[in-house]
Amino acid sequence: MKKVKVIALRTAGTNCDYETAHAFKTAGAEVDLVHINQLIRGEKELSAYYIMAIPGGFSYGDDIAAGKILANELKYRLRKPLENFVADGKLVIGICNGFQVMVKAGLLPGFEGISDVQETTLYSNDSGKFECRWVYMKHQANSNGKCVFTREIKDIIYLPIAHAEGKFTTAGEDILDKLEANGQVVFKYVDAEGNKADYPWNPNGSDRNIAGICDSTGRIFGLMPHPERYLTRYNHPRWTREDLPEEGDGLAIFRNAVNYAREKL
């Protein structure tokens, strides 16, 4: 079987790297934790990997704005290797801070490749504070098949969020319309029954309850909730009272990516 190599990118303030690496390993991949300085210095090559993960955390303390400094490093210091990586049909996932980095680096929404203009952002939660809670997300039917990371996934999944800046918003309604029309909206926050609902179900006040989006190819994916934090039933907040499968809802996202890479690359 082909080995799928994953790069989990680290920098000062990255803090979900261990569990993100564990998630990819559980899904059958080989994972290297690589500091961005190693890429910049040329000690490691992005091209050696099939999947890049930008894990959660507080890159550079989220000083200036969440994910901004790491986004600039990707944009200005690793532009060429990153463009090649995307052009080669490889996969990128950004979780929480990684998602914030991706929208600020122009990797998302990615209507036509990497954009120099930032079109979407993740703004301070409506509640005005950092929040850690579990949320339900509904997989958007019209993105089915498009987003590589959710090719096979349950209709509604349950994952934790932990962020202060997670409100998905855009430069205009037209961008939201375009995302929906293109099938780039992958997940929306819902209540336990799968209905559209407000806070706390939509934990941050995201426009149209959007929790995660992909680019126009479906190979670049960002989301605020943390799939790497729900890999086994013992992560679930109610595992002591509910009948749950051994596997957590988050694992499918990593497995879909690894399987796709194995087939295509």
Binding site: E19, A162, T240
Partner: protein, 802 residues
Amino acid sequence: MGLDKVNVKIVNILDADYAQLQKISNDGLLSLNLAEMQTIKKYFADIGRNPTDVELETLAQTWSEHCVHKTFKGLVEYKEYNRQEERIEIIDNLLKTYLMKATQEIDKDWCLSVFADNAGVIVFDDDYGIAFKVETHNHPSAIEPYGGSETGIGGVIRDTLGVGLGAKPILNTDVFCFGPHDLPYEKLPKGTLHPRRVFKGVVAGVRDYGNRMGIPTANGAILFDKRYVGNPLVYCGNVGLIPRDKVKKRVKPGDLIVMIGGRVGRDGIHGATFASIELAEDSEETSSGAVQIGNAITEKRMVDTLLQARDRNLYDAITDCGAGGLSSAVGEMGEKTGAKVHLERVPLKYAGLAPWEIWLSEAQERMVLSVPSEKIDDLLEVFENEDVEATIIGEFTDNKRLHILYDGVTVADMKMEFVHDGLPNITKKAVWHKSQYKEPDFDDPDDLTKYLKDILASPNVASKEWVIRQYDHEVQGGSVLKPLQGVENDGPGDACITRPLLHSKRGVVISNGINPKYGDIDTYHMAASAIDEALRNAVAVGGRLEHTAILDNFSWGNPDKPDRMADLVRAIKACYDTAVAYETPFISGKDSLYNEFSNSSTGETISIPPTLLISAISVIPDISKAISMDAKTPGDAIYIIGKTYNEMGGSHYYHVRGYIGNSVPVVRPKRGKDTMTRLSDAISLGLVKACHDCSEGGIGVATAEMAFAGGYGMKLNLSHVPVSHDFTRNDIILFSESNSRFIVEISPEKCGEFEKSMQGTVFAHIGQVTDNKKFEIHNGEDMVISSNIESLKEVWQKTFKW
């Protein structure tokens, strides 16, 4: 010597008389008493010169209560007056006589490092140990709540990072004590911040630092009392995972001294001595320079790189720069060897610091390493690769002297022996009089529903969800039992469980016990009860006494006052008695004394109530056996385990009715241990569906919380509750806070097996979970509580719904 060229002053103590010696100490914020100043004078008279400011400051930091714990290590003359009877006892070294002795006697082979290092370490599995340390950061948090709590958490993380050759931080715990959040502004003493502001600032500091470090904050408590207004308490704890072959360290002469992490500034000067005096109205003006400034990302970078260096065996020893900065880090590491330091090499945030300031600054996010010279290049490269500053500032020698230079000029040169062992032995006086409070004289009310609600709404008991959700308790992916549990993820869990290794089912249980209200009556029973509470919280989720260790954290008033000192002695005696009886060793601890505030407008000095935090850590082999506290299934049986006594003194019921009382809950450890061991067996056999300990508010609060967390009603009858036969009142049965009690939920088909496994202990079936929202308690035919879970939950949540 050219000292003036390097901005070092000679302090003339050789010519100083008693008054002048004391003045030098007071003016310099040295917190040295006269006997200590005289000892210093004698040392320098013997070598024929005056000390430099660097030398005097070094001694003040090293000898401070905060660093050397002289109260715990000195002599105590303890007098006890109990009903006219007088008893006198001389105790030499409270720490060794009680706390360390308990651990020695219990003698568990799973203790890997106790009392010797920055944190205690116990066995996790064949390859790893678990380190645990809890610290206080009280005085800085009084002046600057955000910075104080931030650097409190940052500091305790460096304690586990500095244990052995370094542990990976995996969990934070925080316990706070504040003044009343609704204190009227006109009652706020001059020079203090409003408790609500302190509360919000402290929570924000822990949130921003802990979350940025990527360490889950999953256990804690928050308590309120008006005596914490001028002097809040901030306990910060950290748990770390350490390979078992990295638990020991040894400095070798010839090793280079390397400082890593942040730069040195003028923040955090005199933190250790500031922690060792009482607070006053002008503390903000005189001591704000003692508060450090934190930067979590600097620390995170340091953790990431340090663990790489550890795994490549690039250094021999490590310790953190905490209180006293370099002076205590280098001083401690070089105690047995000697050390030579060149202060001009220390990287500064900005120019202009005097040598003594560089040496003492508690500027954050720094560690000191002892590095063999042949490994230095590899070591420096690890840090440089990820933009962490690492600087060689000197070397460990073999001359047993502390030698400090600046630009080649000697600015301090003393024997290590004097620095560490020169401190004169002190004797503290302790006098204990049994306190007596008014006994309540009200009748047993017919309907206790109102009082149940009052207790649920009372700040110590009420939901802290507003705080808990601001902490990331899921990061690192190992969360098994979260602080909030139940059908709507909002019930109050007894303890948290995490899996530090994601490929393993082994788990770490963390819990705590604290109840200063009992200390108003007798600190002996307060301490015993705190241990019992921490242990029952751990047992309630699936922990076992056989693999549980505990930590002690004393926050006390001024130990120079005999009544405060006596309270301390009694608490420490209880720690020994109770720990030995439960066979749960102390592995680490800390004391914070002088927590008093002088109110200039009233002329009073307010001491905090004696406050002992006991933290428990337990290792469980299989997390799938863990249980939560929420009621699970209608029709299930509810049992009480343990006997209820007429022990209402310091109870929350008396508190909401304006009384303290005298009959404080005592611990009966022989029975308690048996109860907890049997319960652990029943839990590991899968017989128990939910378990909650009885603490504040007794059976009433425990059952109500289980019911509303589970979303089901309950119907209970107090006539079945096993009680001591000296009372019949319903309010006592319902709200007594007797120790070693639990409420459990058992499915009907397992009741027989459960009762069999508990045979020989005191327990009783008292009711069941119901398929409606009613919460009803009778005694025989009489209705005692009639309510519903929605309204009980609402009052419990609304106090801090901010």
